[in-house]
Symmetry: C2
Subunit: 396 residues, 2 copies
């Protein structure tokens, strides 16, 4: 029988996509140059030239049968070894190829990590504000997602609420730092306290609690921000990485799971990922893309535009009376809406051509997300519109 479950999911509209659709409709009506589309987290800077150069070089200098052939189900060994060497250098943790599983972007990495360390019926805790897709990512494995409400002063972890949520049913904690939607980076102090609680709870309940660390924004950290290498602070960490944001390759679907070599059953977890793939139809990212990223691991797109946009928006929005926690990375910020109903606020913002996303679906009602992965010129032109919006609310 046709699946009612997936049919029903079609009715659950994504508010991000809805706002983006509104932007499109509005652009048709009043002109594209009057629309400031801050709804989508889509990189606005191209991949660096070296990506295409490396691809062309591989195409010209590799035997096509081997280039386009099956890779082993963990990913191509030389690619895994290159990722491990890169992470080892970055962290001093003794990663080897045995600790790396190549995945189709962060979504693919999380799909494997969750299935490896959380059984159906067990609980995964995440912290608001959080990426709304964590809902289906976790639910479809049969596990239960528990959301800890936000610390709205800092968007670091609300530890009081966390300690009330953690229980013997907790199998894993899922974090995302630098964070979508807040732009906040969890500090060393935050990560150490989290690690301490997880260690103590593991001892109390008699089983390890894994930390699944979703890090697609790991390379987008602004100057002066304390950005610890999370896996180095808690041994039972599965890092889920994607090349989508740092090197602007979201469509090429490439990332990995890297398990801290000291984690319980670290190598077994990587082997288990190959079995998980069989059921979910994954079978590795594309060979050409795997081989490409292995050669550009230390490269990024020109990420400076995000920091520049962040500075301008933070300076101007605070000047206009908005309450904003200053981002430490990513290309998002998450100000407080000047009225309780953030959806109503975002609806009003549309009158000024500003396309923003209400925070409700991120688990933080009353806030709104600005995805400032847009040209700086667009940011600058949008400031007078924010000014009118602020005046509308009597902030200035």
């Amino acid at each position: 029988m046709i699946s009612q479950h997936y049919k029903d999911m079609l009715q659950q509209k994504s508010v991000i996509r809805e706002m983006n659709a509104k932007a499109g409709a509005l652009a048709e009506k009043i002109g594209k140059d009057k629309i400031f589309n801050y709804s989508l987290g889509n990189p606005s800077v191209p991949a660096p030239d070296c990506v295409n150069e490396v691809m062309k070089d591989i195409l010209e200098n590799t035997d096509p049968l081997s280039l386009h052939g099956y890779s082993e189900s963990h990913g191509i060994l030389e690619v895994r070894a290159a990722v491990a060497a890169y992470l080892k250098k970055k962290s001093s943790l003794p990663y080897t190829a045995d600790h790396v599983f190549m995945a189709s972007g962060a979504a693919g990495a999380i799909a494997h990590a969750v299935r490896a360390v959380v059984c159906p019926g067990e609980e995964i805790i995440t912290f608001a504000p959080y990426f709304p897709e964590y809902g289906p990512y976790v639910r479809e494995t049969g596990a239960v997602l528990k959301v800890v409400p936000p610390d709205t002063e800092s968007f670091q972890i609300n530890f009081e609420a966390f300690e009330e949520t953690i229980s013997e049913k907790t199998a894993a904690v899922l974090i995302n730092s630098p964070n979508n939607p807040s732009g906040i980076v969890y500090s060393t102090q935050t990560i150490d306290r989290l690690a301490q609680i997880l260690t103590q709870a593991g001892e109390k309940y008699g089983h390890s609690i894994y930390l699944i660390s979703d890090e697609p924004y790991r390379e987008i950290v602004f100057e002066g921000t304390d950005a610890p290498f999370i896996s180095a602070h808690y041994k039972n960490t599965l890092m889920c990485y994607s090349f989508s944001k740092s090197i602007s390759l979201p469509g090429e679907r490439i990332g990995y799971v890297a398990v801290n070599p000291a984690a319980d059953e670290a190598e077994t977890i990587i082997h288990m990922c190959t079995q998980i793939s069989r059921g979910i139809g994954h079978n590795c990212p594309a060979s050409l893309i795997q081989l490409t990223v292995a050669k550009v691991l230390d490269q990024t797109a020109d990420l400076s535009v995000y920091e520049q946009n962040s500075r301008i928006l933070y300076r101007e929005l605070t000047r206009l009376g908005f309450s904003v926690v200053k981002p430490g990375g990513t290309f998002y910020m998450f100000p407080k809406a000047p009225e309780e109903d953030a959806m109503a606020f975002c609806q009003k913002a549309l009158n000024y051509g500003l396309v923003l996303v209400p925070g409700d679906s991120f688990g933080a009602p009353g806030f709104f997300r600005i995805a400032y992965c847009v040209p700086t010129e667009t940011v600058e032109r949008s400031i007078p519109q924010f000014e009118k919006l602020a005046a509308d609310y009597g902030l200035i």
Copy 2:
């Protein structure tokens, strides 16, 4: 808690991989030129030159931000439209982009198709001999795989056993023609009879029974073989296609689900695939690979070597007294082992450097698979070894 389920799966060895590993070990011992590795279904001819040319052209002439950017979750629209136009021309069925979902190879396509039309607890019927991965593919969705025993005279469908297996619990039937491991192509008569039974059972049980048609070998059909376009014979068909075999791109993980436009809820099924992706972490094949295949839809690798190998092996093996059903396509054949225990036979074949795979895991004990995707020169050199093996069994 770490998943015992996936940990246990690690213990279930694939006999194909085991035989391949034995080939490797034997090659080390007695020399690679004395080994005839017929264990793996890995294309032996390279992708045609046009593939790499198209890739380089795309890399040189597409804006990198758009090239490597997110595609919509159904796949890139122009790619889906191109696939639809190709299928329409081939079949006269009125495919449009709305009937095509881009997937990561056949494994990805089947992962989506099964979840769309079969609910947990329901049954999927397949026909032996069948690809062993159908086991985990189906089981991990929560559905139950029922295997109909083979018609060992022809390797067409054993309809008597099928009619005993089909019931009100049957949600879908999963077929693979041209077939791995038999090399047999289901005839027009077979497909029409299958369609008739499915239609009648659908009426009897009050719900449509979908046909999931796994067709990675669709383009590898030998001269004179009756090879119907299956979707045209039964309206509720979901075709799962992969470019792995026809154009030798197995590592690039690219294929699609195409629903017969006349199927019940055809367009809804394609939309549902996007929801299925969210839970299994799929999010489209790589953009560059999608754009590439759209431009080479009517191209194939030089597939003639498979037909040539098939002719030589069929002629020689029958001459040597083996009982073989003549393949109509693919790069497999599936002779009867000259002793009841096909594993023991394959073990003995290793003494002659012949690496074959016993049929037990394909649901057909007593037979063995020859994957003749190897250079013709290798096939020719292997014949004297088959001759010694036949003599060992007193066949000649």
